[in-house]
C-alpha cells in the first residue's frame, strides 16, 4: 500500500519558507529517494504577507500536488499557526517557532524558538529556517539528518556552508531535546539551546 505524507511550512514572506520547502523536497526526493512534489503560494509582497510552501511525499508518483490533511505543519508565526492547525491529521505533528507563536492551539506541539536562536547564536534571523530544518529531521520520520545536511549544503550560497551547518546541527540538537521532553510528557518548551 502506498503512502502519502503531507507537509506545510507556513509563516510570513521573508522567513525563507519557500527555500525551506525546496531544501526539504530535495533532501527527501534526491537524497532519500522518495517521490516529492513541492508547491507554494505567495502574495505580491517579497517581505511580510503570508507565505507557505508545501511538500507532498510518497513512494509513487504524486497526483494531487498540494497538501491535503497534514502530517506535518511548521508554523513560523501566530497567524499561520491559527490558520492551518485545523488541517492537521489527529496524529499530525505541529512544530512552531515559539519566538512568534505564543498561543499553541493543540497539545503536544513542539515549540522551539527558531528565530530567537538564530538571532542570539548567529546574529541573523535569516538562518531560522535552516535551524527549523534540523529540528524537522529529528522530530519527524520523513527526512534523515544526513539527507537534510546534504541538501542544505547543496543549496546555500558558497562561503556560508559552515554557518549553515552549525545552524542545522543546532536545530537537530533542539529537535532531539524537544523529543525527549515530549517523551517525558513535560511541555516541550525549549527556552534555549544551552539550557
Amino acid at each position: 500500500m502506498s503512502y502519502r505524507y503531507d507537509i506545510r511550512l507556513s509563516g510570513s514572506g521573508g522567513q525563507g519558507l519557500i527555500l525551506m520547502g525546496i531544501i526539504l523536497a530535495e533532501a527527501i526526493g534526491l537524497h532519500d529517494g522518495k517521490y516529492v512534489a513541492q508547491t507554494q503560494s505567495y502574495g505580491p509582497e517579497a517581505r511580510g504577507g503570508s507565505s507557505k510552501a508545501e511538500v507532498v511525499v510518497s513512494d509513487e508518483e504524486i497526483d494531487y500536488p498540494k497538501a491535503l490533511k497534514l502530517d506535518l505543519l511548521v508554523a513560523m508565526n501566530q497567524k499561520s499557526c491559527d490558520d492551518y492547525y485545523m488541517d492537521l491529521k489527529p496524529e499530525g505533528i505541529l512544530i512552531v517557532d515559539s519566538t512568534f507563536v505564543k498561543q499553541v492551539p493543540i497539545q503536544g506541539a513542539y515549540q522551539i524558538p527558531f528565530t530567537r536562536m538564530a538571532r542570539e547564536r548567529f546574529e541573523r534571523g535569516m538562518v531560522a529556517n535552516i535551524i527549523a530544518l534540523g529540528a524537522i529531521s529529528k522530530l519527524t520520520p520523513i527526512v534523515s539528518p544526513k539527507a537534510i545536511e546534504a541538501a542544505v549544503l547543496a543549496r546555500v550560497p558558497r562561503g556560508t556552508e559552515s554557518l549553515n551547518r552549525d545552524a542545522l546541527k543546532m536545530g537537530m540538537r533542539a529537535g532531539q531535546k524537544a523529543k525527549k521532553l515530549a517523551a517525558s510528557s513535560v511541555v516541550s518548551l525549549i527556552e534555549n539551546e544551552d539550557t
Partner: protein
C-alpha cells in the same frame, strides 16, 4: 515523434487497442529498474520547477533566442534564460513590452534561430497582434503562457486556466493554432521540446499553456542529457534561389523555409500573399492560401494530439481534465474506484487542435462526463459541442484562484452517479 517517459499518446493507445494505465507506470518503471533497464544514477536526478523544466526543454530543443518582458508568474523563465543563453552563444533580450518581445522572436526565427518568449495573460493579450503575424507568415516560434486569473491584471500570483479560448482565437482572423498543456514537470520539459518540434515542422507558432501550479511546482526529473532525442528543425529549400517559391503549396501544405541572409532573397509579409510571398487580393489565391494554413495542421492531427487515459475502458463516469486539475482528477478517480465507482480519466496534453476523436470515444463509452476547469467553462464548451447527446456532460468551474481539489471532483463524481 517525441516519446515521453510517462505519457502514452492517444495515437499509440488507439493503435495497440490495449488500455494503458499510466498509474501503473511508476510501478512498471521500478520493475524495469530492478531488471536494470533504466538504472537511475545518483546525481542525474534534479528537483526542478515547471518554469525551470521549460527552460531546460527549450535549450535541449535548440532554442538560442529569447525575448521577453517581466511578468508574474512566468518571470523565472526569463531570469534563467538570461543566465543560460549567453553560455551557449544564444541571445537573451528584455524588450520594452510583450509586443516587442514576440516581434523580436519572429525576427530571430526568420534569421534561422529557434526562438521563444514567455508571458502571462496581460502580456499574452499584447502578443496576439504578432502571434497572427507568425501564423500568416508561417514563422516557427514558441510562446509560453503561464496563466493567471483574469481578465486584465486579475490575479497575478494565483493559478487559473482561463486562457484556453484566447490561446485558440486570441488573434484576429481565421488561423490554426497548436496549444500544448503540461501537468507534470516531466511534461513541462517534454512538451517544450515537442512545442519546438511542432513549430519547426508545421511552421506555425506553438503555445505552451501552463498554469501557475505547474509552473511553480517542483518535482524530480531526470534530464536526458546527451541521450539522442528527436529534435526537428525546419526544412530548408534544396532548390537554387531562383527556383525557390517561399509559400509554395506542397502536398504536406508546408513550404520549405529559407533563412534570411542565405541567398534566398524573398518577401515576408503580414498581408495575405501569393505563393511568391507578394501581397495579393485575388480570390483564388487568397482562398487557396487560407485553406493551406488549415490543411497543414488538420491532416496531421495524430502527430500533435497527445494525452493520457486512465481506467476509462469500463468507466461509467469519465473526467476530462488538463494541467494541474488533471492531477486532482486522477486522485479523485482512484478514490472513486476505492468506493466502488467505475471512474476514469482522459488527460489532455494537447488543448488545440481539440482532441475530438478521443473525446468522442470517451463520451461514447461513459454515459457521464465531468469537465473540471479553473475557468467558467472553456474546454467543456468543446466537449459539449462534440457530444451530440450521447452522454451527459457536467462541469466544475472554479474561478477563485485556487486549484480544484480531488474532493471537489470526487463529490461531483458521486453526485452524478
Amino acid at each position: 515523434m517525441l516519446k515521453t517517459v510517462r505519457s502514452v499518446s492517444i495515437a499509440d493507445y488507439a493503435k495497440s487497442g490495449v488500455l494503458i494505465l499510466p498509474l501503473l507506470s511508476s510501478r512498471k518503471r521500478k520493475a524495469e529498474e530492478r531488471r536494470g533497464k533504466t538504472v537511475r544514477k545518483k546525481g542525474q536526478e534534479r528537483l526542478l520547477q515547471g518554469n525551470e523544466a521549460i527552460v531546460e526543454g527549450a535549450l535541449r530543443a535548440g532554442c538560442r533566442f529569447f525575448a521577453g518582458y517581466p511578468i508574474t508568474p512566468a518571470t523565472e523563465i526569463s531570469e534563467l534564460l538570461s543566465v543560460r543563453l549567453p553560455k551557449v552563444d544564444g541571445t537573451f533580450i528584455q524588450m520594452e513590452d510583450e509586443i516587442a518581445s514576440l516581434g523580436a522572436v519572429i525576427g530571430a526565427s526568420l534569421a534561422g534561430v529557434k526562438s521563444m518568449t514567455a508571458t502571462s495573460g496581460p502580456g499574452f493579450s499584447l502578443m496576439q497582434e504578432n502571434l497572427g503575424f507568425a501564423c500568416i507568415a508561417e514563422v516557427p516560434c514558441v510562446v509560453v503562457n503561464v496563466m493567471r486569473g483574469g481578465p486584465s491584471t486579475g490575479l497575478p500570483t494565483s493559478p487559473s486556466q482561463s486562457d484556453v479560448m484566447q490561446a485558440r482565437w486570441g488573434t484576429h482572423g481565421d488561423h490554426p493554432m497548436i496549444v500544448l498543456c503540461p501537468s507534470t514537470i516531466r511534461e513541462c520539459y517534454d512538451l517544450t521540446i515537442k512545442a519546438f518540434n511542432l513549430s519547426e515542422k508545421y511552421r506555425n507558432p506553438v503555445i505552451l499553456l501552463v498554469d501557475e501550479v505547474i509552473a511553480h511546482m517542483r518535482e524530480k526529473i531526470i534530464l536526458d542529457g546527451d541521450k539522442p532525442i528527436d529534435i526537428f528543425t525546419r526544412v530548408k529549400p534544396t532548390v537554387p534561389p531562383e527556383w525557390y517559391i517561399p509559400y509554395e503549396d506542397t502536398p504536406t501544405g508546408i513550404p520549405a523555409m529559407a533563412d534570411f541572409g542565405e541567398g534566398y532573397r524573398y518577401h515576408v509579409t503580414g498581408l495575405t500573399h501569393d505563393t511568391r510571398g507578394f501581397p495579393t487580393s485575388r480570390p483564388d489565391e487568397v482562398d487557396a492560401f487560407i485553406r493551406r494554413l488549415f490543411r497543414k495542421i488538420s491532416q496531421n492531427f495524430t502527430d500533435m494530439q497527445m494525452g493520457e487515459v486512465f481506467q476509462t475502458e469500463d468507466a461509467e463516469v469519465a473526467v476530462i481534465a488538463y494541467g494541474c486539475v488533471a492531477r486532482s482528477a486522477k486522485r479523485a478517480v482512484i478514490d472513486a474506484r476505492e468506493r466502488g465507482i467505475r471512474a476514469g480519466l482522459l488527460k489532455l496534453n494537447t488543448i488545440w487542435p481539440f482532441m475530438r476523436t478521443q473525446v468522442e470515444k470517451i463520451l461514447h463509452t461513459s454515459g457521464c462526463v465531468i469537465v473540471p476547469e479553473m475557468n467558467m467553462g472553456q474546454i467543456s464548451r468543446e466537449v459539449k459541442r462534440v457530444n451530440k447527446g450521447t452522454a451527459k456532460v457536467f462541469t466544475i468551474n472554479k474561478v477563485d484562484g485556487t486549484i480544484i481539489t480531488p474532493q471537489e471532483i470526487l463529490g461531483k463524481i458521486r453526485e452524478v452517479c
